[in-house]
């Protein structure tokens, strides 16, 4: 399997965690994998993007316009990464709730309309799927599982070809046992939401 994925969002949303889960699962499924993390300091709220590369890969970074899947946990960050990395035939999965930067609250910038972001991403990638991971995670009863919902959505693309259970096992091991069921629900809900979004 050969796949380049970028998971992006803001600090605290669990992008890096999700990318490590995907890479670890890929390794357990017998692949080579790399993750390249790009994030700021320990502060919350900064922009974060994590490149996951699976297959005959050496370095940790995805080349421009060659991400097969972009998982955008936040729309502005989806735009930032999408404009540079979305492959023309790639998939962008967009979680629409914005997290406003200080540039907006201090009145130095206006947050771009999310529908325009979606529209523009459609001009950059083959498929854009809106999956409201934030709402789905809240409905399931664990708002912090948004990143797992979005990982499930990425699995829903069918581009991750190893068995779903390998991912679920890595997810189970990554969190406290009491979250096992909720995370599994979150993953499956994400997978379904992706399929609904593109059908």
């Amino acid at each position: 399997m050969e796949l380049d994925v970028i998971i992006c969002g803001v600090g605290g949303q669990g992008s890096v965690r999700a990318s490590h889960i995907l890479a670890e699962a890929a390794i357990n499924a017998g692949n080579r994998a790399r993750v390249g993390e790009t994030f700021g300091a320990a502060m919350r709220g900064g922009k974060v993007s994590s490149h996951v590369r699976i297959g005959d890969v050496y370095g940790p970074l995805v080349r421009e316009r060659s991400a097969d899947i972009i998982v955008a946990q936040e729309p502005l960050e989806g735009m930032r990464i999408g404009r540079k990395y979305a492959a023309p035939d790639g998939v962008v999965i967009l979680n629409p709730p914005p997290v406003y930067p200080v540039d907006v609250s201090t009145g130095n910038a206006v947050y771009p309309p999310v529908d325009e972001i979606e529209e523009t991403l459609r001009g950059l990638a083959g498929t854009v799927a809106v999956v409201n991971g934030t709402t789905i995670a809240r409905e399931i009863g664990n708002p912090r599982s948004m990143n797992i919902v979005m990982l499930g959505a990425a699995y829903g693309t069918g581009l991750i070809t190893f068995d779903r259970q390998i991912l679920l096992d890595v997810i189970a091991a990554a969190f406290k046992p009491k979250f096992k069921e909720l995370n599994e629900k979150a993953f499956l809900a994400g997978e379904k939401a992706y399929k609904d979004a593109v059908s």
């Binding site: 993390e37 316009r65 060659s66 930032r80 930067p101 540039d103």
Partner: protein, 653 residues
Amino acid sequence: MNKVGKDEAGMKTLLMGNEAIARGAVEAGVKVGVGYPGTPSTEVGEVLGDLAGDLGFYFEWSINEKVAIDVASGAALTGARTMVMMKNAGLNVAMDTFATLPYTGVRGGLVIVVADDPGAHYSSTEQDTRPIAQYAEMPCLEPKDQQQAKDMAREAFDLSERMEMPIFLRSVTRLSHASGDVVFGEIEKASREVGWNKHFKLPFRWAVYGPPEGAAGRHGWLKKKYPEFLAESEKSLFNNLQIVPGSPVAIVSSGVATSYVNDALTALKKKGACSILEIGFVYPPPEEKMKKILDAADTILVVEDGNPMLENKLKELASDAGLHKKIIGRGSKAVIPTFNELNPDLVISVVADLLGVEYSFAVVPEETRKKADELTIPRSSALCAGCPHLGSYAGLARVIKKYGKELLIVNGDIGCYEQGGYGVAAQVITPTDNATKKYPVASPYEILDTTYVMGSGIGQAIGERRALGDNASKKVVAVAGDSTFFHACLPALADASLYNADITFLVLDNSWTCMTGHQPSPRSRVNAMGGEVPALDIAAVCRAMGVKFVKVADAYNLEEATEAIDEAISYQGFSVVILTGECVLQVLRREGVVEPKTHVREDVCIGCKQCVAIGCPAVTFDPEKKKAGIDPLLCVDCGLCIQVCPVNAIVTE
């Protein structure tokens, strides 16, 4: 136990480069680990600190890198296997010991891990420390990926003991903060003898000035070891030479650049199409292998993430051999930009050019690109909601307002609070001439006038004061955090106190080394291995250093903080204010997140934006309604915005 410490040879798992380096140390049976946190090197120490108790070795976060390298070398002189880690800038702090250590060498394996940061993601410079290893004449390794990072760290201990010399392991952000599959090796359990011998193999071995020949003689001894280093490099498996007969071109690479080259050759379907030399033992580099590459090809592309160090060596070897070869890279015939980090796009384009193949990626239609650029507004980094620095800066901002132009300079330092000098990216600044000016401070992100390196703020404040003379109407301030205070401010504090520099020094004490991910500071009451230690008292240190004006104030009490800062600034002479308030993320981690109660009564809010000016990410503003708001996902009920609201529109009931 952290998976890095598992005694499971053959296990394959995903490791971050820093974890892989720590694993190498564990496999080598490390006895002492030491460092000072600094991105992107920190996790090497975090993992070792985590494992020290379980595996029975010692780890400490030292007070700074100079102390760390001294602690490390002391341990290694006794024969203990020792690893010390720091970031690029940390090596500058450790330089005195670092440059001297090769004159005596070591007895136990000593591995010095330095993580560089091409692209300066987290650093004040892009400095390449490989040439610094060369300058100290210390052997240097540079891994291409996580597996090699583990293997090199492991092997470096053996190499160090064989050559009786510290080994420099250079990493970069894209290695340290990247992850890859790594297969574990055996953990060595042999217990090594630790002891003391003043005349270990040489008279007065551990005295650089010692007889018979003093330092110059020891330099001669080090020079004589060079052939030994070179021989190790020549036979090192970390250098990989593949000659492709008949190919007129070749690629030489080192470190993570090697991985980019391999990605490029794979994507271009040109694996095996030209001669390559991957260099992992970068100082001294394998001269014989380099000569073979020179003989094999006419054009040689050298790809390295940093200075053209190997490129220049190759040119030297070509010139010595009287060969006229085209050697290109980042040096005098630069085909790769001479600054900023390498990336796979850059590398594939130069590799494609070298091989004479087409490479292009799908171009985005002009209109879409324009639209995408327009929609991509910046996301400036900000202090966390409820951060105590927001309180300190709100107090300082009030004092700045009161003094106006009189409070001329606020020197920054390095820590989370350095964001006080970042500005807000979306703001447009027009630089002006050299007229003396004080700019308005609209947010805490504009409050600092300087930011350089750890500990430089207070020293620069002294210099500014001396240059401005005794002009009492020109106030000079410096700030620093608690970790930075102990790391590099103490000598400048003594200087300011001894010569009574009329400056004000604000210590922003949040009890942790936060910016690098909450390592313990001397204020945290805990050490890197999880043990209890006492907290050092900053006020007592200042008083012991002879500082007459020392005040402690609560960073979350705006009135108290403002008053203390105001008083200190009007004081004639050196004054120190310690603003205390524990890092809110640490408090949340310990006490759990609770639903915030703070909210804005919209009917009362007059839209004055004084709460917005605090710069807290939880305070929002609706430009249409002209009303402030509180983001319940971010707010932690710290109460700062409540204190600035002139009409009591922000409440907690």
